[in-house]
């Protein structure tokens, strides 16, 4: 037995020795991992990838927008979190009085990364390609016809008054591509491009833009690497290389603390709050333009309880809005109406709906329905701005139980949720809207007969007065008049619309302390070309 014990002890000792040796070698030979995360001249952007493509005219995902915004220029742009359109490729523009015709005059000194001058033909090609590909961003130019009357003039004609167009054009999906290069690689802007365009594989491996960066490598699962365009026509960017890296939020939290020249885009407000006070980091939290809300169906065939106006009013006053805001953490705000506080036409804080349990209970009694019961659907696995829809749904259920409304929750995978939601089959939904462009016109979908209103069967005929007002707002050109009209619509909606605006969640961006202009954009998550150092 003496030997029996001896052999394993030796083996055990050997194992421990080997393990220690490996760790020691790794620790001593490897340079400090944190030092390697960002070489000099490299900006590392950590984000949880949501990317299908970086073909500008097909993409509409946040991660793609970061990359595309760095490689392609747009006619007009925004700076920081401002939503005021500023000249970029277009040095000036004119808008007709009816807001149907927009004439842009292009700069003459712009060149693509291969040296080809950018002209109106490239704008015409890019915009028509967006329209005819019929992809995710094609709705941006719905009803718009594009022409190029001269080498440096582009005209957009909208079939209906479209005062929002100047705030649509900065979208990175409307970035201008080098038409010669894209055509040479199978691209087309002709009608039927959705079937005949073959340029996407090329654009996943190469860029064809005039922006400050060109594509070095693209991997939709790991990282997208951009390199400075040596022939860029505008001010040189600070960083030679941009690495957009796919990391989950928990890993971003650790990486941004160790890195230099690093930005974390997906931390929740609570996670960001833990980093406040660290001298090597800059933490910004504020209210996002995203909007969490509850929708209720107005069609009695779907649910008699949900369609009852008294029940709808009861729900409006039963919801504990401040506690929803608390869920999102510091920086979140209660949405005063369906238009976020960042856009013109939003309601003042005084217009916010306030909880009133007595009134809610009285409305339940007035409905004449005993023990009202509603089924609420929500996208089960979806989390936005760090907030799980499942948590929100539970909170809604408990709020409504306090006034005697029983809510049965049904969580579904996003795709299944969207299918029945779009068909207007949900009695009630825990829902969400992110801006497609920073203009109140994007929120007309919630007015009677609009896209979102149709999902709760709220046709224009059900509220003609509100529908008429919405139509008027859509066609009004002056921002001052539009703001007044949208506020009027907002107040009416807060009283009778089948939508209950809950809150705008907090959003956070954490960056290395030496970085400047690392701010969350309203449309794109981050403008890498603007990020600099102190």
């Amino acid at each position: 037995m003496h030997r029996t014990a001896h052999v394993p002890r030796l083996a055990l000792a050997a194992l421990v020795a080997v393990a220690l040796a490996v760790v020691a070698v790794v620790a001593s030979v490897a340079p400090a991992a944190g030092d390697k995360t960002a070489a000099e001249g490299t900006l590392v952007v950590d984000t949880s990838f949501v990317v299908q493509t970086i073909d500008p005219q097909r993409m509409f995902e946040p991660t793609s927008q970061i990359a595309v915004k760095g490689m392609y220029d747009t006619l007009v742009t925004f700076r920081g979190q401002s939503t005021t359109p500023l000249p970029w490729l277009a040095r000036s523009w004119k808008v007709s009085k009816d807001a149907k015709t927009f004439t842009f005059t292009l700069r003459r000194d712009v060149k693509f990364s291969d040296g080809t001058p950018l002209t109106s033909a490239d704008v015409l090609f890019s915009y028509n390609r967006v329209i005819n590909l019929k992809g995710s961003p094609s709705f941006l130019l719905a009803g718009v016809k594009v022409s190029a009357p001269s080498k440096y003039t582009v005209v957009l004609r909208s079939s209906t008054p479209n005062p929002a167009l100047l705030r649509i054009v900065p979208n990175p999906s409307l970035g201008i591509v080098n038409s010669k290069v894209v055509k040479a690689n199978g691209g087309t802007d002709a009608v039927g491009a959705d079937k005949t365009d073959k340029a996407e594989p090329y654009l996943l491996g190469h860029s064809a833009g005039s922006g400050p960066y060109v594509l070095k490598s693209y991997n939709n699962k790991t990282e997208i690497v951009l390199e400075a365009n040596p022939g860029f026509w505008g001010p040189k960017p600070t960083f030679q290389t941009i690495v957009i890296r796919n990391l989950p939020a928990a890993t971003q939290l650790l990486n941004v603390q160790r890195g230099t020249n690093e930005v974390a885009l997906d931390l929740s407000a609570q996670q960001a709050a833990t980093l406040r006070g660290k001298s090597n980091l800059k933490v910004i939290t504020n209210a996002s333009a995203n909007l969490f809300n509850i929708d209720i169906n107005t069609d009695p065939k779907i649910s008699e309880v949900a369609a009852n106006p008294h029940i709808q009013t009861a729900i409006r006053y039963a919801l504990d809005y401040p506690s929803f805001v608390k869920l999102s953490g510091p920086g979140a705000v209660q949405a005063p109406g369906m238009i976020p506080t960042t856009f013109i036409g939003h309601l003042p804080p005084s217009a916010k709906i306030k909880r009133n349990l007595q009134k809610a209970k009285a409305e339940v009694r007035a409905s004449g329905i005993s023990n009202p019961k509603i089924t609420m659907y929500y996208p089960a696995e979806l989390t936005i701005n760090g907030i799980s829809f499942a948590t929100l749904a539970q909170k809604t259920k408990s709020n409504l139980a306090e006034v005697g409304i029983q809510v049965d929750l049904v969580g579904k995978p996003v795709n299944s949720f969207l299918e029945t939601y779009a068909a207007g089959k949900h009695p009630m939904s825990q829902s969400y809207w992110g801006p497609d462009y920073p203009d109140p016109n994007d929120y007309l979908v919630f007015t009677p007969g609009g896209l979102a209103a149709n999902r709760v069967n709220w046709a224009a005929s059900k509220d003609p007065k509100l529908a008429a007002l919405a139509k008027k707002a859509q066609r009004t050109v002056s921002d001052t008049q539009r703001a007044a009209l949208f506020r009027q619509i907002g107040r009416m909606m807060n009283q009778r619309a089948p939508f209950f605006p809950l809150f705008q969640p907090a959003q956070a961006i954490v960056s290395s302390g030496n970085l400047t202009n690392a701010v969350l954009g309203v449309i794109w998550p981050l403008d890498v070309r603007a990020v600099g150092t102190r």
């Binding site: 490996v22 594989p201 996943l204």
Partner: protein, 358 residues
Amino acid sequence: MARDSAAGTESGRPRSRAPWPFFRFLGRRLVALVVLAIGITFVAFVLTQLVPGDPALSALGPVTSADPEAVAAYHEHWGMDKPLPVQYGTYLWNLVQGDLGVSQLSHQPVLDDLRHTIPATMELAFLSIAFAIAVGVPLGVIAAVRQNRASDHALRVVSLAGISMPTFWLALLALYVFFFRLDWFPGGGRLDPGTTPPGEITGLYTVDAVLHGQFSLAWDALHHLILPALVLAAFNVSLITRYTRSAILEVIHDDYVRAARAKGLPERTVVIRHVLRAALPSVITVIGLVFANVLTGAVLVENIFAWPGIGQYAYQASLELDLPAIMGVSLFVAVVYVTVNFVVDVLYGVIDPRLRLT
């Protein structure tokens, strides 16, 4: 499958004929693989169709998906406008020609996606399994040989903890300690940010970098590989330790072991050549299971360590109902399982002559 090897001599056949049964066995397995692959594609296809939901809705976004023309164009582009039997038949026809279709999520051929994700997971899995075997088997032997002594108790407690600990938690903890606190390992990914991967030969960065003579790149790849591989190995080290221990305890008191000791053989020889060899078939079976654990555990580890492997790919494909990608992953998993089972069966015969194929 198995029969006493003595049968070969009983029937009077010379041993040189032994390879033929092996090839018959191999042929049967290959046929089974083809049948299984077709079955897998059918089940995956039917299940994906049964899930209510249209991928076009999330792919196109809320506004564009309200345009029936855009949805129709999407369906046509991805072949979803055709009757289901036609869709399935087309898929099989393309599959026979080596075309797995194009992923709706990545807009790239599924074959290309798999070509990048499979080696990433395999690199992780190989190191993880090698570590699990290298550590788990000796620890199991130690625990069995020192049964009911302090070291046995300690190993049993540790292995129980290893099995019980959630992998995602362990991954976060490892990242916190070894990356954030100690700065010994990098914080995720296969290479440092912005590093150009080695030219593709095997897809395993460590191997490819060595083959190209890029040793600093090989080190970078290995440095990134170690921590996730160790985390992934934790569960399997415990599993193998426990199984090895119980397999050895089953045979350690057998007569032939006593006879070996009585012959005066050194204890090391008795343990390694007689006890461990007899216990190995059970251990090999567990190692087969370990492959399954690695593939399922990889989903979480790959997510935390931003490792672009098959686990992450499968997870995203399932969420988005990306049918071509789901089918591609299902086929890969089927091939892995059949191959692993095949290798395990062959190893039985190699280890234990009584189990050789007839």
